[in-house]
């Protein structure tokens, strides 16, 4: 017979364990509902002219035959396009002007219900900025017409974007380096940010930003902070992300999405006036000092010297203490084994 006291103890222990497990599970975010792909899309596609375009552009071997981008692929994967958020829109919703690109028959039907007619601009868009952009585009950059196309349907995002550090450089200065809509969201295969494969999915955001912010040439040209990718990778945020499950803070959580400004800009989420509010989104009660605990600064002889000293002292402590200790262990073991005759040669030549 097992005594009842022991049984009680086991029961209490099990209950405590279950409660702990339940608590740990409770913080798991609800699974994002992913709508099943609409099978009728394949039929709707006929209405928008997409099928007509894909007759040629759905061929893997299609390339340009002339111009500066000679031999560049013009292939669009129909499967991936139909899986994207814009599958309902026809090609001509974005490619509003395809005359002069080798299309003799440019009379493509654009009668999709969601498509914006070429030339038509929603009233809410910053008309002046778009007009200025239209003027500036003038075919100078291959990407700029795409920005206009996006702005047609997404004026709110566009209006914020053109004030940001990226958008201002693109639209205001005509710089081709900073990212456009398509650089972060993708081209033909844009997925919702809740999709694991999306470039804008929180799990993929560091990789998306990394494409420019880890480039030595880009960092040098614009005087960007050097080790943003590495320091983020060493942070608790990144480590928590690698463990999986649950939301973590990535680049955009602190710096913003379309509204990224230089840290000195008062509109920036990481400006010293707003940073405690930004951290406070997750860390209740965070103050300005708290924010400075997370820094992209490099720990070196010139930067963050106090922390550098701490790490160096401890590093040499490890070498200076563990080294002799292990050495003594070896010496003692050899001495002890020799005394026992364990190291003597047993066989004679």
């Amino acid at each position: 017979m097992m005594n009842t006291r022991a049984l009680q103890l086991i029961a209490v222990g099990l209950a405590a364990g279950l409660a702990l497990a339940a608590w740990a599970r409770a913080e798991e975010p609800p699974s994002k509902d992913q709508a099943p792909p609409n099978v009728n899309l394949r039929f709707k596609r006929y209405m928008s002219g997409t099928e007509t375009c894909l007759t040629c552009h759905g061929d893997y071997n299609i390339i340009t035959t002339r111009g500066a981008q000679k031999n560049e692929s013009l292939w669009v994967s129909s499967d991936r396009f139909l899986g994207s958020v814009h599958s309902r829109l026809g090609c001509t919703s974005c490619h509003t002007n395809i005359e002069g690109h080798g299309h003799r028959l440019a009379q493509v039907e654009t009668n999709s219900t969601n498509a914006v007619q070429p030339g038509e601009k929603p009233a809410s868009i910053d008309a002046g900025a778009l007009a200025a952009l239209d003027e500036k585009v003038g075919g100078r950059f291959k990407r700029e017409p795409a920005l206009v196309a996006c702005a047609n349907c997404h004026p709110e995002q566009f209006n914020v974007y053109i004030t940001s550090v990226h958008g201002n450089a693109v639209v205001g200065e005509g710089n081709s380096d900073p990212p456009w809509c398509i650089d972060c969201h993708g081209w033909h295969y844009i997925l919702p940010s809740s999709d694991e494969r999306a470039l804008t999915n929180p799990a993929n955001i560091p990789n998306t930003c990394k494409r420019c912010h880890a480039q030595t040439e880009i960092k040098r040209r614009y005087g960007l902070t050097k080790n943003v990718v590495e320091t983020f990778g060493d942070s608790f945020h990144a480590r928590r992300g690698e463990m999986g499950r649950g939301e973590i803070a990535v680049c955009t959580s602190c710096h913003g999405w379309h509204d990224i400004y230089a840290p000195e800009d008062p509109r920036s989420k990481v400006n010293k006036n707003r940073v405690s509010e930004t951290c406070g989104e997750c860390h209740q009660g965070a103050q300005i000092n708290f924010a400075s605990a997370f820094t992209h600064g490099e720990v070196s002889r010139t930067e963050l010297v106090g922390i550098y000293a701490v790490t160096q002292i401890h590093k040499w402590m490890i070498v200076g203490i563990i080294g002799p200790l292990v050495f003594l262990v070896f010496v003692h073991l050899l001495k002890n084994l020799r005394e026992r005759g364990a190291l003597k040669r047993t066989s004679k030549p």
């Binding site: 702990l20 497990a21 608590w23 740990a24 599970r25 913080e27 798991e28 608790f236 480590r239 928590r240 690698e242 463990m243 999986g244 499950r245 649950g246 860390h283 209740q284 009660g285 965070a286 103050q287 000092n289 708290f290 924010a291 400075s292 605990a293 997370f294 820094t295 963050l304 106090g306 922390i307 701490v310 790490t311 401890h314 590093k315 402590m317 490890i318 203490i321 563990i322 200790l325 292990v326 003594l328 262990v329 010496v331 003692h332 073991l333 001495k335 002890n336 084994l337 005394e339 026992r340 005759g341 364990a342």
Partner: protein, 272 residues
Amino acid sequence: MNDQPIGAVPLGTLLPAKPAAAARTAAQQQRMYTRFNIHQRLQHFLLVFSFLGLMTTGMPLRFPELAICRMFIGLLGGPEAVGIIHRCLGLIMATSGAYHITYLIVMWFKGHRKHEILFTPLDFNLFLDDMKFFFGLRKEPPRFGRYNWREKFDYFGACFGVALMVATGLVIWFPQIVTWVLPGWTVTAAVLLHEYEALLAGLAIFLSHFYWVHLNPDVYPMSMVWLTGQISEDDLKQQHPLEYEEIKERERLAAEAALQAPAAAAGEEVAQ
């Protein structure tokens, strides 16, 4: 031999026994001396328990990029659960430290104010002699007291380690509160210190301490002092000769006093 633990067999068959060590098997028949009392053993046990737990939960939290660490985190119920367990174990480690300080204070008020564990200038000579003995420049091992230089070093290392880990751990646990008064870089420094000190302590325990108390052929498979608190007369004589002599001297004085006391009492009676 039936009284040997199973684990003792492999190394035991590899190593010829030392003639002197063969006598150790008859340790049960020897007189035993108390080396550590129940409070000291409890403190050590709390430290062992929390240390091993903190190591096994802390390493996966630090290196989630390794698949085995992620597997272990999943096994324990996810990152949040591992974090909670790690904090609880940290509190146990802090408890062992608090227990020790309380113990020292109580002992102080009970009049026990001389601590053998403290370093003395003599330790430096003993250390040099020990090194000479290690490298064969000296035939006889140095004669240690209750604690040799390595044990003293272990003790103060543990004190420093626990104090630092508990302090930095609390800073990482409550960064918002800490940064109300302290600058932000203290949190960054605390994280780094916590990591380096964990590495230092882990290496010291697993590579050095475990050798001296487990794998060392003289005590293999394990010195039982940390569980029983008892040390045999032979071991005491061999490892801590000065302490052994002190105990013998104390016993001799006590015996003499006991002999004289009845005589004195008898003398008093006669005088009356």
